[in-house]
Symmetry: C4
Subunit: 279 residues, 4 copies
């Protein structure tokens, strides 16, 4: 009774479990291998831009790059083949990223001077963000993102205030210091103000006049002080989240008797004593 | 019965709603257009100071500047006209800022060498702070400002202590390093101390003697440590505020039955079940 | 019956109230004038080190300096005269500081090449710390100092760990980078490590080899991370203090009926209703 | 009945108490002397690398180094001798470190050009970490380490996110700025990104193009903002720990009546009134 079609479907399902699953040994191995190849490909792109290494190992790098491109191509095709609604994947964010990871090498066959294409391969990096969707990290990621979202209003007000201050201080420094001390234009002065306010302080531009140094000192102390504001916002948000999480009772009802409202640190149902399976 | 005067009053009221209102579509559109024009004018002032751009597009920038000045002039007149007590606006903080936004271009007709006037136009930027008075952000702004005000005593003590330390360390570095290592005077040494203590570290001045480097290391670790103090002050204040806000019951009584003391997250009156209109 | 001695005692008491008191108008005025003169004297010492100003106004600065020294001398004598146990003051910390503030100018009459004496005058600055003993700030200062003392154990462990890491990383960078990249000795490498770990980053020394830059990147991320530790320690301490202060009942019993344990925000005695006088 | 063997055992025990004990005066003295010698040896290694000092005091440094090596050798042998199971110590972490502290000088007799061996002596520093195991600091250390371990999940997600962003921004800056502005390769660009994101800002590499400066400004504000995340994580964790510690009742039951659950700040048993011995 096993027709050709159902054989195909069974194969499709097997591939799907390996590629998209995270529970079977084969699925985990595939994830690990993929992670390794992505890291290797990103490191390759980096090393290629180092003149001394590229001059020495140019051919080896090209060959490795083609091997990786072949691996990614097969993976891309398998991903499409193993899905019942491939179009949804193809036009998804990660679908497009996966395609971008493969294209540059093929295009380099037809085009010359493809230094930009070389860099496009760095986009493969984005695939590494997928790991944060892994169940092991989702909780932690969501926790942090929640804290950021909850405080987005105050953060917006803070950044808005900082940006306007930046433009204002930059304009003043342009008038005080002028082009002869490196403040060649207001945008450059604003760049200096951001470099100073964030306490980065390259020193490529630094005030030369006493008045400029006085204003710069003021900007630094201001920057030193206002770094406390985003920290305060995020910290109090995270602390609030942590407390809520601790206080909230276990979500899942007991699988044996169905009673809900277990304490957060409970391992056994308080009603029937059967073990509670978390997550 | 509609006399000429009442016609005028009706017009005055219409303009007032458009300019000062934030609830009607026309009022919102005006706010958005104004925001855009202010941003454009600030960007223009910036670009004008970039030599290469100014050389190329000088005439276009001048024309655009006049268009913006005309727009601001009309807006300024309408603001005065639409108010019943215009003097209160004219001598208010934002009234003076609005006038300063308009004046420079007119004065530039009579004066030459008005590079300072060019910069005065950057004051238009201050008009952008008005947005923080928008109901959507008021809550967040007040929240942050409250936290700063509540901790002003400790912040004053902290800044006072930092400033005196700065002068003291600056004097010591002047004696240790001296003019031959760039510490030309005590004010310059103090400037260096602030650059170091706030972890900006330009590198325009840096200690050259072993003793100076030792003291500098001490200053850095001190600066690294005391950044924790303002952060601690602000964070604990914001955290306290957040908790209070969460605990305090809804301010407004139910508009239907007048019962007060609703929970913070309540959407319906607990007494009569009618919807609570927040804010 | 008013003998000469009691006249003297009465004068002594009057001077004492003006100099040491903070409650009478005369006492407050004296405090303000003294604050102003101290600030002026500190600014004078600073300006004297600025070559261009000293060349121009040398005589004026010297005259002003003598006026200030005379004022401080009179103040010092009055402080001793107005006390019943002058020796206790003379050998106290601030007594010695007050003497140091006066001595340099008199010594400069007998000694030449007194550049060090010039700087000693900067010690007058320390007198400004007295302000923090003012009742208005004592609460705030104690609050901050308490938080620091309470967390001294953890801060010691943290600094100890940072210092050892600093020496260790410094030694490694000395081996990796060597004298040819500016890491001339282990102490210099340790100086660089502190400059980097505290995110100051002068750029007077920066790694040149790929391995050195890799280790430097690691140090920076480490420094970025561990800045969170002192902040966390101090913040949680301040937050704890704030909470305790809020929860602790009024210290002073009611002056009318003697009942204790009033709520922190109470203005009237809960037992007899008479006003509570705080502080 | 005191045989030779038991005499040996008695001596072994005495040495053990001096070397490993912290309660007897002799044990404490030994700890202090050892601490001093370790510090001296580390300072010696440092000073040896300073050219001017090494040229002047080469012989004195060598002699002192041999004295220290002899002291460490004796200590190492005594440690082994005084234990009943010496192998456990010899192959423990600190046992290997203790051996490494001694070896280099002996090896320098047979080998020449032992600059690396010189540095290996810096490993003696690690012995200083032992102090953190001292009962006085254990509580504090554990407290901090607990906070770090409890938040390891979020910290991993954070560092992972920062590292990927770093590679991504580095690649973009390499394309925008290119080798002519110092961004010679992607690894170098990543190094610059870390220098900027952590607000270190050496200034050895800094963006030269307007677009590069704009992206750099964005990176700085990002770095300024995300420093709040690890601080928030650690702070909320430490605050949580502090609270738990405060709330948790005394661990030890009353030594008189055996009743448990005393309040944290209790000095006397609430049941029988006998003093509670803490620790």
């Amino acid at each position: 009774m096993i027709t050709k079609k159902s054989k195909w479907e069974s194969l499709q399902q097997k591939i799907n479990i390996i590629i998209y699953g995270t529970n079977t040994p084969a699925g985990r191995l595939f994830d690990l291998v993929l992670l390794g190849v992505i890291l290797l490909s990103v490191i390759l792109v980096m090393l290629e831009t180092v003149q001394s290494l590229d001059a020495k190992y140019h051919n080896q790098i090209i060959i490795l790059e083609w091997v990786i491109t072949f691996f990614f191509s097969v993976e891309y095709i398998l991903r499409i083949v193993s899905l019942k609604k491939p179009w949804k994947y193809i036009f998804s964010f990660y679908g497009i990223i996966d395609l971008i990871a493969v294209l540059p090498m093929y295009l380099s066959l037809f085009l010359t001077g493809t230094s930009v294409l070389t860099i496009v391969r760095a986009f493969r990096l984005i695939r590494l963000f997928k790991i944060l969707n892994h169940p092991q990290f989702t909780g932690q990621s969501i926790h942090l993102i929640d804290a950021l979202i909850a405080s987005r209003g105050r953060i917006f007000v803070f950044i808005y205030f900082v940006l306007i201050s930046t433009v204002f201080i930059g304009s003043m420094m342009y008038v005080i210091e002028g082009p002869e001390n490196g403040f060649t234009s207001i945008p450059t002065s604003i760049y200096w103000t951001i470099v100073t306010l964030t306490t980065v302080g390259y020193g490529d531009i630094s005030p030369g006049t006493p008045l400029g140094q006085f204003l710069a000192s003021f900007v630094m102390i201001l920057g030193y002080g206002i770094i406390a504001v985003p920290t305060g916002i995020i910290t109090s948000e995270i602390a609030l989240n942590s407390k809520k999480e601790e206080q909230k009772p276990k979500q899942h009802p007991c699988s044996n008797c169905g009673v809900e409202g277990h304490q957060n640190n409970a391992s056994y149902c308080y009603n029937c004593g059967s073990e509670l399976n978390d997550e």
